[in-house]
C-alpha cells in the first residue's frame, strides 16, 4: 500500500488525506451543480497564489497512483510554470507525467484547452484567478452571490451590449462568460474565447480551482456550455489568417513570435503537443526548420 515516496515527510500528492477529502466533497458538490462556485477551505500551498494553487489542490485531490499527468501553461508543456507544477507532482506523488494530450488522464491547464479533442475519462483542471464572472461589474461577494441565486445576469448582458455600442462588436476576448447547463453564468478562466466552444458537450470532466479566492466549480461531461451573445451579434471566435509556420495547422490558436526588430513575425501553434504531433506525422509549415 505505502510505496516509498520520492519526497520524504509528505503525504502522496502533498496534501493530507483529510484535506483531500474536504476538496473532493467540494468537487462532488460542484459537479452536482454545474457552474456553481463552491466555497472550499483552500490551503496554503508551497507555490504563490496566482500561480495555480487552486488547480494544484484540485489535481492533488483527484490524482491517483495510476494517473498520467500533463501540465500546460499557455498551451505549452515547456513554459516555466508548467514545468514547475509537473515537477511538483513528480516529486510529491511520483506519478507518471506526459506531454501527450492523448496519453494523459489528468491535465492541469492555465489559459488554454488542448487542440486535440478530449475523451471520456479524462479530467481537465483549470487554474482560475478570479472565479466570479460578475466580479468586475460588482466587487462585493454578498451582492454577486445574490445575483447568482436569482439568476439575475442583466449586468453582464449590459456590459456586452456596451461593448457593441462602443466598438461595434463584443470586445471581450478571453475569460468570455458562459452559461452552464442553462443556469449559472460561469467564468471559463482566462482562456481565449477561441477555446469556449471546446467546453460545450465535452466528454471529459472539467474542474476549476481558484486557490486565493477559495472556490471550486465544475462542468460535468456532456454538459451544455453556451457563450453569452445576442441574436444580432452571435458569438464568434478569433480567426488567424495564416496557418502555423511550423506544422501548417489551420483552425488552431497561434502564438505570435517576434523574430527581429524590423517587424518580422511568425505565428506558431500555442499547443506545443499538437504542433509536435503534426510535425511527427510529416506536416510542415512554411518556416519549419
Amino acid at each position: 500500500m505505502s510505496a516509498p515516496l520520492p519526497e520524504q515527510g509528505y503525504n502522496f500528492a502533498y496534501l493530507d488525506e483529510g484535506t483531500k477529502r474536504m476538496i473532493r466533497r467540494a468537487i462532488l458538490k460542484a459537479i452536482a451543480i454545474p457552474g456553481y462556485q463552491v466555497p472550499f477551505a483552500s490551503r496554503e500551498m508551497p507555490m504563490p497564489y496566482g500561480w495555480g494553487t487552486g488547480g494544484v489542490q484540485v489535481t492533488a485531490a483527484v490524482l491517483g497512483r495510476s494517473d498520467v499527468l500533463k501540465v500546460i501553461d499557455q498551451g505549452a508543456d515547456d513554459t516555466t510554470n508548467a514545468v514547475s507544477i509537473r515537477r511538483f507532482f513528480g516529486r510529491t506523488a511520483g506519478v507518471a507525467t506526459t506531454t501527450r494530450t492523448t496519453e494523459a488522464t489528468v491535465i492541469q491547464t492555465r489559459h488554454r484547452i488542448p487542440e486535440t479533442p478530449l475523451r471520456e475519462g479524462q479530467i481537465l483542471v483549470y487554474q482560475v484567478p478570479i472565479p466570479e464572472p460578475l466580479r468586475f461589474l460588482e466587487p462585493r461577494e454578498t451582492e454577486t452571490r445574490q445575483l447568482h441565486a436569482l439568476a439575475e445576469y442583466g449586468l453582464i448582458h449590459v456590459k456586452l451590449y456596451e461593448d457593441i455600442a462602443r466598438h461595434g462588436h463584443i470586445a471581450t476576448t478571453y475569460a468570455y462568460p458562459v452559461e452552464v447547463a442553462g443556469r449559472y453564468v460561469m467564468d471559463p478562466s482566462p482562456t481565449p474565447k477561441f477555446d469556449n466552444p471546446k467546453m460545450d458537450d465535452c466528454p471529459a470532466l472539467q474542474l476549476f480551482g481558484a486557490g486565493r479566492e477559495k472556490r471550486i466549480y465544475a462542468v460535468p461531461p456532456y454538459t451544455r456550455v453556451r457563450s453569452l451573445d445576442f441574436e444580432d451579434h452571435p458569438f464568434r471566435v478569433q480567426r488567424f489568417d495564416r496557418p502555423c509556420a511550423l506544422c501548417g495547422a489551420e483552425g488552431v490558436y497561434l502564438d505570435e513570435v517576434v523574430l527581429d526588430d524590423r517587424g518580422g513575425r511568425m505565428f506558431v501553434c500555442s499547443d506545443t503537443d499538437h504542433c509536435e504531433g503534426r510535425r511527427a506525422e510529416g506536416f510542415t509549415g512554411e518556416q519549419a526548420a
Binding site: 509528505y10 502533498y14 466555497p39 477551505a41 483552500s42 496554503e44 500551498m45 508551497p46 504563490p48 497564489y49 496566482g50 500561480w51 494553487t53 501553461d73 499557455q74 498551451g75 505549452a76 515547456d78 513554459t79 516555466t80 510554470n81 514545468v83 514547475s84 515537477r87 489559459h111 488554454r112 484567478p129 466587487p139 462585493r140 461577494e141 454578498t142 451590449y161 457593441i164 455600442a165 466598438h167 461595434g168 470586445a171 476576448t173 478571453y174 482566462p190 482562456t191 481565449p192 477561441f194 486565493r212 477559495k214 472556490r215 478569433q238 509556420a245 511550423l246 490558436y253 497561434l254 502564438d255 505570435e256 513570435v257 523574430l259 511568425m266 506558431v268 500555442s270 518556416q287 526548420a289
Partner: protein
C-alpha cells in the same frame, strides 16, 4: 529562425542555483546562523510568526535566512510549512490578565494597578545611528526594581473600566467553536473572530495604513490606547483523553486594547467601545493598527455610517493578506501570451476599422450598435 521565449528545466535549475549563491553573499563574510537571526533580529522573527500564523522562532528565523530577509517570502515559507502540520485542536483561551508583563503602558490613566512598565521600547530613544554597534558592544545591564507589594497583579484596563459600566463588556462566552480561516473559506459577512484572525495574519504595512486612514477622517473612531501589554502567557490544552487542562508552555504576546468614544443609542447609554489587537512576540505597531481597524470594522454593528475603506470588511479582509496580494500581483510575470494575442487581434481589427472609417470622409458615421 524560431527563438522561443520558453524556459526549460535546465534554466530553472540554474536560476535556483544562482539564487542560493546570491543568498549566501560573499563567502569571505561568515555565514549567519539561525540562532543569530532569532536572537538579534527578534522583532522581524516576531513579525514573520504573526503573519505566518505559527509560533516557532527557529523556523521563522530559518525562513528569514532562506528568504534573504524578505518578510513576505519568509511568511510564505512558514505558511506553506504550517499547511503540512497536523491539527490537534484549539488551546484554552489565554488569560492576558495573568500575563507576566515585560511592558505595560496605558495612555488613559496616569497610574493604575500594576503601574506603567516601560520595558524594552524604542519609544524614547533618540534615533541617532549608534556607530559603536558597527564593532559590536556588550550593553550595560538594566537595573531591576524590587518587586512591590502588588507585584504580579496587573489587571487589564478594560476590566477596571468595565466594572463601572463605562465600557462595553466583552461579549459573553458563546461556547461555539471559533472559526478558522486557514481551514474554512471566509463567509461574508465574517464574524469578529474571523476578522481578527485575518487582521492578525494581515500585512503589517497594509493594516497600519488602514488604521492610519481612520485617524485622518476615513471612518473616525476617536481612539485612546487603553493599554498595551507585552509579556508571556501560559498556554494550556485539554487533551480529550484527560479532560483537564495541561500546560504546554509559554508564549510571548503583545495585546492592545483600544478604547473608542461612543455616543450611545436609544437602547444603550453612552459608553466606550473597544478595538482589539493581539500578535505574537513584541509587535506594538501591528497590534495598535489591528485594534484601530477592528474597531472601524464594527461600524455597521454599532449603527455607524459605513463608507470608508477601513469600515468595509470585504475590502479589508480580501486585501490584507500579503501572500494573496503578492501572489496575484507577481503572477503578472507569468506568461500571458494567449490572452495578449487575443487582445492584439482585437486591437488590430479595431484599428483597421478605424482606419477604414477615416479613409472615406464622404461616408456618414455608422450607428455603432448596428
Amino acid at each position: 529562425m524560431y527563438v522561443a521565449a520558453k524556459g526549460g528545466e535546465a534554466a530553472i535549475d540554474n536560476a535556483h542555483r544562482l539564487l542560493a549563491e546570491i543568498r549566501r553573499g560573499d563567502p569571505v563574510v561568515p555565514e549567519l546562523s539561525v540562532a543569530q537571526i532569532r536572537e538579534q533580529m527578534s522583532l522581524l522573527v516576531d513579525r514573520v510568526m504573526t503573519e505566518g500564523s505559527l509560533h516557532d522562532p527557529d523556523l521563522a528565523a530559518l525562513a528569514l535566512k532562506q528568504a534573504r530577509g524578505d518578510v513576505v517570502e519568509a511568511v510564505f515559507l512558514v505558511r506553506a510549512y504550517r499547511t503540512t502540520l497536523p491539527h490537534f485542536g484549539a488551546s484554552e483561551p489565554v488569560d492576558t490578565g495573568a500575563m507576566t508583563v515585560s511592558r505595560r503602558v496605558s495612555a488613559t490613566f496616569k497610574d493604575l494597578p500594576g503601574g506603567q512598565v516601560l520595558g524594552p521600547t524604542f519609544d524614547y530613544t533618540h534615533r541617532l545611528v549608534d556607530f559603536a554597534l558597527t564593532e559590536g558592544s556588550i550593553p550595560e545591564p538594566a537595573e531591576e526594581a524590587e518587586p512591590g507589594p502588588d507585584a504580579g497583579h496587573c489587571p487589564r484596563v478594560t476590566d477596571i473600566l468595565g466594572q463601572a459600566g463605562l465600557l462595553e463588556p466583552s461579549p459573553p462566552e458563546a461556547g461555539a467553536p471559533v472559526g478558522d480561516l486557514t481551514r474554512e473559506p471566509v463567509d461574508y459577512p465574517a464574524d469578529r473572530a474571523v476578522r481578527l484572525q485575518a487582521l492578525a495574519r494581515g500585512d503589517e504595512g497594509f493594516v497600519l495604513a488602514l488604521g492610519y486612514s481612520t485617524q485622518r477622517g476615513y471612518g473616525r473612531t476617536h481612539p485612546f490606547v487603553g493599554e498595551i501589554r507585552f509579556g508571556t502567557v501560559a498556554l494550556e490544552f485539554v487533551p480529550e483523553e484527560l479532560g483537564f487542562p495541561v500546560p504546554l508552555g509559554e508564549v510571548p504576546l503583545t495585546e492592545c486594547q483600544m478604547l473608542n468614544q461612543f455616543r450611545g443609542s436609544g437602547e444603550v447609554p453612552p459608553q466606550f467601545t473597544r478595538g482589539y489587537g493581539l500578535v505574537f512576540g513584541q509587535g506594538e505597531r501591528k497590534a495598535m493598527a489591528m485594534a484601530l481597524v477592528d474597531r472601524s470594522l464594527r461600524a455597521a454593528e454599532l449603527g455607524e455610517a459605513v463608507g470608508a475603506p477601513a469600515q468595509d470588511q470585504e475590502f479589508v479582509l480580501a486585501h490584507c493578506d500579503s501572500l494573496q496580494a503578492t501572489g496575484f500581483v507577481e503572477h503578472l510575470k507569468l506568461p500571458h501570451y494567449v490572452d495578449f494575442q487575443a487582445e492584439l487581434e482585437l486591437v488590430r481589427r479595431l484599428r483597421a476599422e478605424h482606419e477604414a472609417a477615416h479613409a472615406e470622409p464622404g461616408e456618414p458615421l455608422r450607428e455603432a450598435a448596428e
